[in-house]
């Protein structure tokens, strides 16, 4: 029995469908990310769960309760907003204690629980500060503490890290993981940042144009994307369009630009398909072992890795190589590429909607 059960959730604004037939089950204590580009309906979904907008149709069940029948203020959910939405006229302790005050928790207990929450988010030393006098990361922690102190059945995070700079974001990512583990609260994170979603979640739900495309563990979604959209959204990918010639028990054969490539076992009907190949799965090899050769057109150094663009007869391929501290091919040089057949992922041709 799932803890949070969203069934056929739909939201239309006039003729425009923001969320369409969205169904998702979340287990107690699970951390699930709603991932997608902006305008994919992920925030609308979150706001329907929070109670800020009403769904056009569909149901939302949390721990056996029908959420749609409960007003936002009685749902008892912890929400962290993108802008943190702290109360600027209140101190940190007052901000965190607000939810308890609304629940008429006696003063002594309130004080104890606020102290506990601030301890959890490592802010015990800033109890009497006002939010204006704090850094982005600290405000983020206050917002988390304020949402967690009411011991919500469900924690909703709306792009919580998007306003932080890169270094702080990595740090807060680890913090979010720790806090989620310690508090053990069922969490739904809305984000457009695939790294964030993959690093934090037990499962990733990828949304596109109001629909849920795939729900899987981050590893499964990355390795087994169900569409070229997901393949391209979760990490980098090379997408090649071509024809599937035949599929057998042991593998498949695929043709593009006159070249015939071996692929993995596929269950597609021969005909036009798209093939995804991750840049980090492509090896640089000697000329006689190469599946295809090409000329480096661009080279980008990213510190821990190199990114190449190579013009090949198959088309432009993106290649990613770990930086081993050695000299790498320069633009204009010819390189020889190879990969294992099972690293190709054959997907149906995307219908442009």
């Amino acid at each position: 029995m799932s803890f949070l059960d969203l069934r056929s959730l739909t939201k239309r604004f006039g003729d425009i469908s923001a969320v369409e037939d969205f169904s998702l089950s979340v287990a107690k204590g699970e951390f699930v990310s709603l991932l997608g580009p902006s305008g994919c309906g992920k925030t609308t979904t979150l706001q329907m769960i929070a109670g800020f907008i009403n769904p056009t149709s569909g149901s939302m069940i949390l721990n056996g309760k029908n959420l749609a029948a409960i007003p936002a203020r009685a749902r008892g959910l912890g929400i962290v907003f993108q802008t943190y939405a702290l109360f600027p006229h209140m101190t940190v302790a007052e901000n965190v204690g607000f939810g308890l005050e609304m629940r008429k928790v006696p003063k002594a207990e309130r004080k104890r629980r606020v102290a506990e929450a601030l301890d959890l988010v490592h802010l015990s030393h800033l109890t009497d500060r006002h939010p204006q006098a704090m850094s982005g990361g600290q405000r983020q922690r206050v917002a988390l503490g304020r949402a967690l102190v009411i011991q919500p059945e469900l924690l909703l995070l709306d792009e919580p890290l998007s306003n932080l700079d890169a270094k702080l974001r990595d740090e807060m990512r680890l913090e979010l993981r720790r806090i989620h583990k310690e508090a053990g609260v069922t969490t739904l994170l809305v984000t457009h940042d695939q790294d964030e979603a993959m690093a934090l979640s037990d499962r990733v739900a990828v949304m596109r144009q109001g629909r849920l495309e795939q729900v899987d563990t981050p590893f499964e979604a990355y390795e087994g994307p169900r569409s070229t959209f997901i393949s391209g959204f979760l990490g980098k990918t090379n997408t090649l369009r071509g024809d599937l010639l035949e599929t057998t028990e042991s593998g498949s054969r695929f043709r593009r630009e006159g070249l015939i490539l071996d692929g993995p076992v596929a269950h597609h009907i021969p005909g036009p398909v798209e093939v995804c190949l991750r840049p980090e799965r492509i090896d640089l090899v000697e000329a006689d072992e190469a599946l295809v050769s090409g000329i480096v057109s661009e080279r980008i150094f990213l510190g821990n890795q190199w990114l190449f663009r190579v013009d090949t007869p198959l088309g432009e391929l993106m290649i990613c190589r770990r930086n081993r501290g050695r000299r790498e091919a320069e633009p204009g040089e010819t390189v020889h590429l190879s990969w294992k057949p099972e690293h190709l992922r054959i997907l149906p041709v995307e219908v442009q909607g």
Binding site: R73, G76, A85, L86, F87, H89, M90, F98, M102
Partner: protein, 288 residues
């Protein structure tokens, strides 16, 4: 090196024209008024060149002037309180409206500013007079036997001043509402606060800076208002500014009028500074 490229001189050169304008149009008249207030005056000799405190002694020793100052500040205070009570909710309603209604309502709020205060006040005179629209209507409905006295009362002046001043309050509060994070209301709601609590505990406290600056504007403009008290108060309900006018143009005792004007300026400034200090001390950190 030319004067224009010297970085020390540039700010002065750039602000020079504005400073000159201020000095000639604002500072000079004030300084002249202050100087005038120390001159002596006699009915037969007119203004003499001797300087002294006689005007101030006359004002401070006469209960008549105390009454006028007290009335002026009570009218200003009453206007400010009414503007807060009416303007804050109005600003909040406008803030919550859809874009189309919001711009229409802002136009309604600001529209009266386009009409001369004198015209608007004459409108109030038509409404409030003993044979005015309101009294006429109430009499015909047989709700009252004798007309209610509304013209030439402090209450009438407060009413009309509120109408004149309320746009300033609404604009100030509206500006502070615009600066608020709209999600802070949602956050409070998600933590269990009802609509009234959200307004009182989250929205209103964040409006405090706007309410305070609006109050300062409304109070100082009301305390020094001339046209409205002159038309609706006449000779019977005198305020400081109408008293100054009478001293200058009827009694021709310019030095006394100047002294009253200086005292009004000083007392308004004292109240404003004290008010700001008080507020800064109480809300210092939260309002930064």
């Amino acid at each position: 090196m030319s004067v224009f490229s010297s970085s020390a001189a540039r700010p002065w050169l750039l602000s020079g024209p504005a400073l000159a304008l201020f000095a000639s149009l604002l500072v000079t008249p004030i300084v002249m008024t202050v100087l005038l207030s120390f001159r002596e005056f006699s009915f037969y000799g007119g203004i003499s060149d001797t300087l002294g405190l006689s005007n101030y002694i006359e004002i401070l020793g006469d209960g008549y002037f105390y009454e006028i100052f007290l009335r002026t500040f009570l009218i200003a205070l009453g206007t400010t309180v009414l503007c807060v009570l009416l303007g804050v909710p109005e600003a909040y309603f406008i803030h919550r409206m859809g874009p189309l209604w919001r711009s229409m309502m802002l136009l309604v709020v600001l529209g009266p500013l386009l009409i001369s205060v004198v015209v608007r006040t004459l409108g109030w005179a038509i409404l409030l007079g003993n044979k005015g629209v309101i009294n006429d209507l109430l009499t015909r409905m047989e709700l009252i036997e004798r007309p209610l006295k509304m013209m030439y009362t402090s209450g009438g002046i407060v009413l009309a001043l509120t109408h004149v001043m309320i746009p300033f309050m609404i604009l100030a509060v509206w500006a502070s509402l615009q600066r608020q994070d709209p999600d802070s209301e949602r956050a409070a709601e998600s933590l269990g606060a009802g609509p009234v609590t959200v307004f009182l505990r989250v929205v209103l406290p964040q409006c405090v800076p706007g309410i305070l600056s609006g109050s300062l504007i409304v109070f100082s403009l009301s305390a020094s208002a001339f046209a409205t008290p002159a038309i609706l108060g006449g000779r019977r309900v005198k305020v400081v500014s109408t008293t100054v006018y009478d001293e200058f143009l009827n009694t021709l005792n310019w030095p006394l009028g100047a002294a009253i004007a200086v005292l009004l300026l000083v007392s308004i400034m004292t109240i404003m500074v004290a008010w700001t200090r008080l507020v800064e001390r109480r809300h210092g950190e939260a309002l930064q």
